[in-house]
C-alpha cells in the first residue's frame, strides 16, 4: 500500500517517517499513492472489460443467451452484500474519526462477514457452473447454450469474476489486519489514515462489481 507506513508504531499518534517534514505532508503523500494505485487497478480491470466488449460485439447472441444462464438471484444478492459492506466500511471510517473504537471494530467485523458471504455465494455459483460444464475454452461442454462464442463468454466470466474474487480476498485480509490494529487501540481521531486507505481499497472492489454485475448478468 504505497508508503502508507504512517501510523505503524505502537504509540497513539501516527508515526512520522524520517523523510517527511510533517504529518500533513506524509498523509498527503500516502493518500496520493493510494489513489495512484487505485488508478492502476482501474486500468487492470479496464483491459478485461475491453476483452468482454470485443467478444460481445462478435458473439452478441451467444453472450445474451449465456448470460441468461447465470443465477440472477445470486448476482443481485451479491450486489446488495457488497454495497452494504461499502456502507459499513464508510461508517467504520466515520466512527474511528470520532474515537468510537468499538463501533469501528463492530462495523469492520460486519464488513468482513459481508466479504465472506460474497465469496460463499460466488463459490456456490462457480460450483453450479462446474457441474453444468459451463467452463472456459476447451473445457466447455454445456449443452444448453451451443451458439458459437458461448465458451468465450464463460472465459470472460471466470476471468473477470475470478480476478474480482481475488480482490475481495485481498480486501478482506487488509480489513482483518486493520481490525486487529483497531482492537489493539492503535487508531483514534488523530490516527486513522490506514482505516481510510483500507476502506478505499474495499470501495474499489465494490466499484468493479457495480460494472461486472449488469455486464455479465443482465445483457
Amino acid at each position: 500500500m504505497s508508503s502508507s507506513d504512517g501510523g505503524h508504531g505502537a504509540h497513539p499518534g501516527p508515526h512520522l517517517a524520517h523523510h517527511f517534514e510533517t504529518i500533513e505532508k506524509q498523509d498527503y503523500a500516502v493518500r496520493l499513492g493510494m489513489w495512484l494505485f487505485l488508478g492502476t487497478e482501474v486500468l487492470l480491470f479496464a483491459g478485461l472489460f475491453l476483452g468482454y466488449t470485443v467478444y460481445r460485439h462478435f458473439y452478441y447472441e451467444a453472450f445474451h443467451e449465456a448470460s441468461r444462464h447465470l443465477d440472477l438471484w445470486a448476482g443481485t444478492t451479491n450486489t446488495i452484500v457488497l454495497i452494504t459492506s461499502s456502507l459499513s466500511v464508510a461508517l467504520a471510517y466515520h466512527a474511528i474519526k470520532q474515537n468510537k473504537t468499538k463501533t469501528c471494530a463492530g462495523l469492520l467485523i460486519f464488513t468482513i462477514l459481508c466479504a465472506l458471504a460474497f465469496l460463499c455465494i460466488k463459490g456456490i455459483e462457480y460450483h453450479h457452473k462446474f457441474e453444468e460444464g459451463a467452463l472456459p475454452g476447451v473445457f466447455y461442454h454445456f449443452s444448453e447454450v451451443t451458439a458459437p462464442g458461448a465458451n468465450l463468454y464463460y472465459t470472460v466470466y471466470f476471468l473477470s469474476t475470478g480476478l474480482h474474487a481475488f480482490h475481495v480476498i485481498i480486501g478482506m485480509s487488509i480489513l482483518i489486519w486493520i481490525l486487529a490494529r483497531v482492537l489493539k487501540g492503535e487508531f483514534s481521531s488523530n490516527n486513522y489514515v490506514p482505516v481510510e486507505l483500507g476502506g478505499l481499497y474495499w470501495h474499489l472492489v465494490d466499484l468493479v462489481w457495480i460494472f461486472l454485475f449488469p455486464l455479465l448478468y443482465l445483457i
Binding site: K102, T103, L107, P214
Partner: protein, 117 residues
C-alpha cells in the same frame, strides 16, 4: 443487520465533517439503482441503460464513500486520468475493429470452427 444499534449511534454524532446520514442516503440510492438495473436488465435489456446506471452508481461510490469530493486536486487528477486512458484504450480498439475488412472478422470464418467441443 446485527450492528444496527452501533449504526444509529454513529448517525447521531456529528462532531466534525458531515454526519453519517450522508452514507445511509448514498446506500439507499445505490440499492434503488440496483433494483432499477435488475428490472430494466431483466425485462428490457439495453446495454446503454445498464452502463448509465452503473456509471451513476460508481460515481456515487467514488464521490461520497471514497470522499473524492473532499480529496485534493492531485488525487482527483490521478484517478481521473486513469479513466481518460480507459476511454483512449476503448476508442483505439474500437476504431480498429469497426473499420476492419469484414472478411477478417471471426463471423466470416466457417462456423464449424467455432462449435464448442
Amino acid at each position: 443487520m446485527a450492528h444496527e444499534p452501533a449504526h444509529t449511534e454513529a448517525g447521531k454524532a456529528e462532531h466534525h465533517g458531515h454526519g453519517a446520514g450522508r452514507y445511509w442516503l448514498v446506500w439507499a440510492i445505490l440499492l434503488a439503482c440496483t433494483g432499477l438495473t435488475v428490472y430494466t436488465g431483466h425485462y428490457h435489456p439495453n446495454i446503454a441503460v445498464a452502463l448509465i446506471i452503473a456509471t451513476f452508481k460508481a460515481s456515487l461510490v467514488v464521490l461520497f464513500f471514497m470522499h473524492m469530493t473532499e480529496a485534493p486536486g492531485a488525487n482527483r487528477l490521478v484517478f481521473s486520468v486513469s479513466l481518460v486512458f480507459t476511454l483512449v484504450m476503448m476508442a483505439g480498439v474500437f476504431g480498429d475493429l469497426l473499420t476492419r475488412n469484414p472478411m477478417s472478422l471471426p463471423g466470416a470464418a466457417p462456423p464449424s470452427e467455432f462449435q464448442p467441443r
